[in-house]
Amino acid sequence: MAWNEPGNQGKDPWGNRGGKDQGPPDLDEVFRKFTSRFGGGGNGGGSGNLSKMGVALVLVGAVIVWGLSGLYKVEEAERGVVLQFGQYHDLVGPGLKWKPTFVQTVYPINIQRVNRLNASGVMLTQDENVVTVQMEVQYRIEDPRKYLFSVTNPDQSLSEALDSALRYVVGHTTMDNILTVGREQVRSDTWAELDGIIEPYDMGIRVVDVAFKEARPPEEVKPAFDDAIAAQEDEERYVQEATAYTRQVEPQARGRAERMLREASAYKERVVLEAEGEVARFTSLLPQYEAAPEVTRERLYLETMEQVYSSTSKVMVDNKEGGSMFYLPLDKIIQGQSQNTQMAPAQQQSAPNRSVRTDTTNDRAGRSTTRQGRN
């Protein structure tokens, strides 16, 4: 309330000594009355007037100081709670204001500022697990009078209410929900619970927002939680690896199948062609044979035997004169044969330090002779 508002004239700091005011100006008048009533005229004289003047000056000065001390300022965001003799009197808006000092007291309260409060700690969940939760509440003072006078330390009360509300809500939520999908639910439940708790306190505080800052498992079990998350990744990885395996195995199998099919059709063509080739000789020889069976047979026989005998070792035995005692060193003959045909290996054989290799060479020689024989 401004000092110059109507109905407040008595508090005008500059002059206005009339009326039934009980302020210092009247005291001055009373003082004068007193001095006249007690008949102080006799000894008073000039010195009395002088002291009266001094007293009046001091009093006027005091009034000015008192008046100036009543000026105060209420900021834009603030409201001033005015108490008159301790009793709630008025709520004043922003601007330059005046109050009669000693009569009125003003408490400026910021009603625009959004204050923050944090609640955090280790809490038990519904499934008897433990989580570390941090929640922030933002609030504004809505009613400065209630804020000041209905509760001692309203901010502390709000903080306690938040602690209680948060733990209550966490205690009614499972850990998985708090940590993952249920965060919004926890936030809104906490807000509702908090409003419910502070409502009977009537503190003049309005909760503007409740923010879920963090929720995590306690440090002591963090490695286990991390491992569970890693396990999810592992699960995904195993599937990916198996898919990769599929991508590898199936094309390989298709390739192998294709190869088998190609080989089979090649085989088919080969056997048919071989058969045709083999048959071709027969069918071309057959007319000749049918024309002259005896000669052709004889010729073929002799050609074959010629070839056979010329490419093999042979011993002719006239059995009729030999009798039963007849020694034929077949093994020597065979050895001689192979030494004759393979001179180079035979020479190497004489070197004693290469005896092992000689054997293999011999083997190879044997095989090569075999091949020769077939040709």
Binding site: S150, S164, M260, K268, V315, T370
Partner: protein, 291 residues
């Protein structure tokens, strides 16, 4: 005369000053005259509201008391649950003085004394409530109910003190170190189970996928095998038909040719030693003289 007037004036001012008192907003006062609490016309204790009030100077004593809601926040205390587990419970009580005369009589207006009296009563109430509940019930079941019960049980006691308990709230329930270790162990075990489940499920899925791939591959190969055998068989059949068609024209000649081929193939090596008798047909002309 002036100083005398001044003194009289000062005395009047002092008397006036001493006979008024201010009760602040958020407070109430009672007045004791020679130790007796002043009553109003109805015989109740007279409560002085905020504002400017009048009393007899020197004889009257003003006792102001807080009329706001007060907080009793005691340090955390140890409670035992029905399953004999310890809990550290931190609670707070919101209370206010409703009967200022009664309150003054019971506590001499001393807030701290009132709080300590209240504290023990609240704790008794809470203790009996906690003692009938398990940790689970306390934490997640009936905390609301628990608070209401504690509130109800203290209300009658509180009225003796001239106060009203507005609210009893459990602020924190903490587990003692040894209990929380058990909980941590259990949580770790649970997480391990989850982790194992994830890994095993991953392996299961992977195994299914691999098996599917292997099966597909096996089927592909087997089908190819069937196809290839069919093809080979068809080839063999075609070849056999060719042979049969050709050789069927003259089996005897075939027999001759094939035998000769076989001889050639059988005796083609120098290491094959033939022991011959000159009686053989091949040598018929060698022995022509004897013939």
């Amino acid at each position: 005369m002036n100083p005398r007037n001044l003194i009289i004036l000062l005395v009047i001012a002092m008397v006036g000053f001493l006979s008024i008192f201010v009760v602040e907003e958020g407070e109430r006062a009672i007045v004791k005259r020679f130790g007796v609490i002043q009553t109003d016309a109805a015989g109740d204790y007279r409560i002085y509201e905020p504002g400017l009030n009048i009393k007899l100077p020197l004889f009257d004593n003003v006792e102001t008391m807080n009329a706001r809601i007060l907080t009793l926040d005691a340090p955390a205390d140890r409670f035992v649950t029905s399953e004999q587990k310890d809990l550290m419970v931190d609670s707070y009580v919101k209370w206010r003085i409703v009967d200022f005369g009664q309150f003054f009589l019971a506590t001499q207006g001393n807030q701290l004394m009132a709080e300590s009296l209240l504290q023990s009563k609240i704790n008794n109430g809470l203790r009996s409530e906690f003692g009938t509940r398990t940790i689970r019930e306390i934490v997640s079941g009936s905390r609301d109910e628990l608070q209401r019960e504690a509130l109800r049980s203290t209300r009658s006691d509180a009225s003796e003190l001239g106060i009203e308990v507005v609210d009893v709230r459990v602020k924190q329930i903490n587990l003692p170190r040894e209990v929380s270790e058990y909980i941590y162990d259990r949580m770790r075990a649970q997480r391990e189970a989850v982790a194992r489940a994830h890994r095993s499920e991953g392996q299961e899925k992977a195994e299914v996928i691999r098996a599917g791939a292997d099966a597909t591959a096996t089927v592909i190969v087997a089908e190819a095998e069937r196809e290839s055998r069919t093809l080979k068989g068809a080839g063999d059949a075609a070849a056999a038909k060719i042979y049969a068609d050709a050789y069927g024209q003259n089996p005897e000649f075939y027999s001759l040719l094939r035998s000769l081929d076989a001889y050639r193939a059988a005796f083609s090596n120098k290491e094959d030693v033939l022991v011959l008798s000159p009686d053989s047909e091949f040598f018929q002309y060698m022995n022509s003289k004897t013939r």
